[in-house]
Symmetry: C2
């Protein structure tokens, strides 16, 4: 048995010129941990095959071979190297037949392809479980920001007469006339919601119909049978995680919360990777846009199901995210975000229809997208500033920090506010740290000293499989103290 | 050779119960007039095969077998009867092998299927050529309505500085700031147009950019290099024909006009057929909607190409149509239009974004849809009333008529206005009249008496192939006079 890394690379080149037959594929990849089996084409990496079929392996660089976060072990099967650069120390070593020289060795899934059916084990820190939607700010941090409950939509309970030959007013007119005496009465019915209106009006047969109508600005935008709850959806569209909150708009109360990994991470964990992808290929920019919308739809569906309603009952949506997420979601150009002076296409807040964005909520609902501050300080930081305003308004000098894949910091001093940002995720979450990982199940998130010994706590409380950002900061603090 | 009509029908029944083998298909249909060859599935009629592949045969009833407007002759090939009812006198007569008993005989394409490859001739009055967009009101009728030119969009010519590290305002802010001193300055940039803005701003490289921006209400909605003409599109969405007019919004001048058959006629020439289709199948309602939008897009493309511009240069769109066309275009429910008291879902005029409607004009453009009067008097009649207002305001009593597939009439007397409507197309345009046809190439449209003899004039001036509505009226008048 001989080490043949260079030769394997040479064979890859030879195959392209026709000297050696290409592997015939597709082969089957079996993931025992997930009880999933998927096909892998002859030309693709294990990482890309997995992503394409919904098997989620962490990939901080999006499969370009520049990090080491997609670690796998192949127990049975014949492999081939997959082209690409990569950091030192992760060479793939195969024997002449294509078997790993050391089957216990972890390899990067983006740097190997299959030459036969394979059994693949995903490293614990490379598994991408569903994430938590954190809300410790309210529950543990000891302050509840005083926010008014004045939703952008308000509800009317209405009695609408049935049409007759003597009263052949249009559906929209009968319902608008029923609102006539109310304060700030609506003046129109949104075209997108008129279908719903016709259906609700005729659900009961011949009797006068009692229904609920939701108003936004001058228009009625949604209709439902009498008594249906007013649902709103708040979305935090993070680079790595996407969190959504279902809100009762009448009571101003959060009903349910849920988080998932942002599916755009399949095209790179960091913003720059995704910007590069979107610039290079307009179709890919649209794929990224659609992926974000589908994830929001999935969260809306699951949240509504958990309270016995449907996503179509959501009558208002608010989304915040950093400037790149904001631009990708709205289909705005991102090229200028990727180079100095890093200007946004749009800074103001935007209101657009859910139908225009392609979300499966009430067809007449609007989506409010929070404003950006600059090219790398977005609406998520604006939301953080608004949520903490009562705190920082109270002091002479305050610092508001939002630590994530990117970290934004605002210094507030004597009524002025300065903001700055820097990527932090890749440094803290595994891209270039041995055993580094995202804040997922099994990550060490707290490190302390007790009697001169390091004591660690993991997310979920189980065995440690890696170290996440807060764990790194805790470790540095503990080692300095110790 | 024996007449086997009844037996052929019996065989059709037997085939369904498995006693006789079904024809194997697909077969080829060759249309020598059009130099087109298309496949025809074993189970479908020649009419539906033709429609499915874009071969346009007139079908007043949408292929249900209740009219006789889809006449064809089959010169070579073996046929089978296709199920369905039909008017008397159009039985299909085939010999035992499936050959027509008289190959010179015209048959309804919706009532025959193929049992072999066939050569098909379409009757001259059943050919569906591209139609004219008529504008004789201005050019011949001797009056030019006095209309103000005050378009809903207005244009700004702007100089916008390039971004630098010292001036990192967002694209939208730099262009809004450049408008700041103008009257009714815009306050936002429409999200849908921000992509265009980024591209136009960066087309020149590093120099300050001179561009055109179009404003609607408080928002900038479109951007183009300096000097580009302001284009508007006006669409008359008729039941049978769809006419579009390209307008120079700065000069208030029509640049080009074009008409096509409304592609929805494939689902029936009359409104009720299409309403029935849309009620029965939501997917079909969406297909009808998309067909109308695609036809508008095609007209916009061809019109813009004729003046050397692109459809994306159209910054405003206005559409009028009868209430059913209006509802089908907007995806509104039509069930209540098909039964007493025939109420519309929406009567008011509507403004929605071109993107929401799916039109390929400037992404930030809006579409103004004219208001309806009632369930069967729509925005097309409102447009006719507006266009003739200077005439009927002048007299004590006036009648405004819009004769088409449906005819709308308004009586204006002492400042009051009464409107009524009735379907007229099927009666006048071929559904139940021998040699009747739509107002297309070869239709007799004028009939007069000269020295006791009838004299006819056809559309296009060539040989007569049928009689259209105005021809029928002229004939009745001439025969009464004679």
């Amino acid at each position: 048995m001989k080490r043949v890394r260079e030769r394997m690379h040479a064979r890859g080149g030879a195959a392209e010129s026709g000297a050696a037959p290409a592997p015939s594929g597709p082969f089957r990849l079996y993931f025992p941990q997930l009880e999933r089996e998927i096909p892998c084409e002859a030309g693709e990496s294990l990482f890309h095959a997995a992503r394409r079929h919904g098997v989620r392996i962490v990939g901080a660089c999006g499969g370009r071979g520049t990090c080491a976060s997609c670690m796998v072990r192949v127990g049975a099967g014949v492999l081939r190297p997959h082209e690409g650069r990569g950091p030192q120390g992760f060479e793939i070593e195969l024997d002449e037949a294509g078997h790993p020289l050391n089957p216990r060795r972890w390899m990067r899934a983006c740097r190997i392809g299959a030459r036969s059916d394979c059994t693949v084990e995903i490293g614990a820190r490379s598994l991408a479980p569903v994430v938590r939607a954190e809300v410790r700010i309210e529950e543990e941090a000891g302050f509840a920001p005083a926010l008014d409950c004045s939703p952008a939509v308000r509800v009317h309970e209405l009695d609408v007469p049935v049409p007759t030959l003597a009263d052949d007013r249009a559906d929209a007119d009968r319902v608008l006339d029923a609102c006539r005496d109310r304060e700030d009465a609506p003046r129109t019915v949104a075209a997108a919601s008129a279908s719903e209106l016709a259906a609700v009006l005729r659900a009961d047969g011949g009797t006068p119909c009692r229904l609920r109508a939701w108003q936004r600005g001058e228009a009625l935008i949604a209709f439902a049978p009498s008594g249906r709850r007013s649902l709103g959806l708040a979305v935090d569209l993070g680079t790595t995680n996407l969190a959504a909150f279902l809100v009762d708009l009448d009571a101003g109360r959060t009903l349910a919360r849920l988080g998932v990994e942002n599916p755009q991470t399949a095209w790179g964990a960091d913003l720059m990777s995704r910007i590069d992808h979107a610039i290079g290929d307009p179709a890919l920019a649209d794929t990224l846009r659609t992926a974000a919308c589908e994830a929001i739809d999935a969260l809306a569906h699951d949240l509504c199901a958990s309270v016995g309603q449907r996503a179509r009952d959501i009558v208002d949506v608010a989304v915040c995210g950093n400037t790149a997420m904001h631009h990708l979601l709205l289909g705005l150009p991102v090229r200028q975000l990727g180079r100095a002076p890093f200007v946004a296409a749009v800074r103001d807040s935007l209101d657009l229809t859910a139908r225009e964005l392609g979300l499966a909520v009430a067809p007449g609902a609007w989506v409010h997208v929070a404003p950006n501050i600059g090219g790398f300080i977005g609406g998520d930081h604006v939301a953080a500033l608004l949520a903490t305003e009562s705190l920082w308004r109270a002091g002479a000098c305050a610092l508001v920090m939002d630590i994530g894949t990117n970290t934004e910091i605002s210094l507030i001093h004597r009524g002025r506010l300065w903001s700055a940002s820097s990527p932090s995720g890749p440094a803290l979450e595994g891209g270039h740290i041995g055993c580094g990982m995202r804040a997922a199940e099994g990550a060490i998130e707290q490190v302390g000293l007790e009697g001169g010994r390091l004591v660690v706590r993991t997310i979920g409380g189980g065995e440690a499989v890696g170290l996440c950002g807060s764990g790194v900061l805790d470790t540095v603090a503990a080692l300095r103290r110790g």
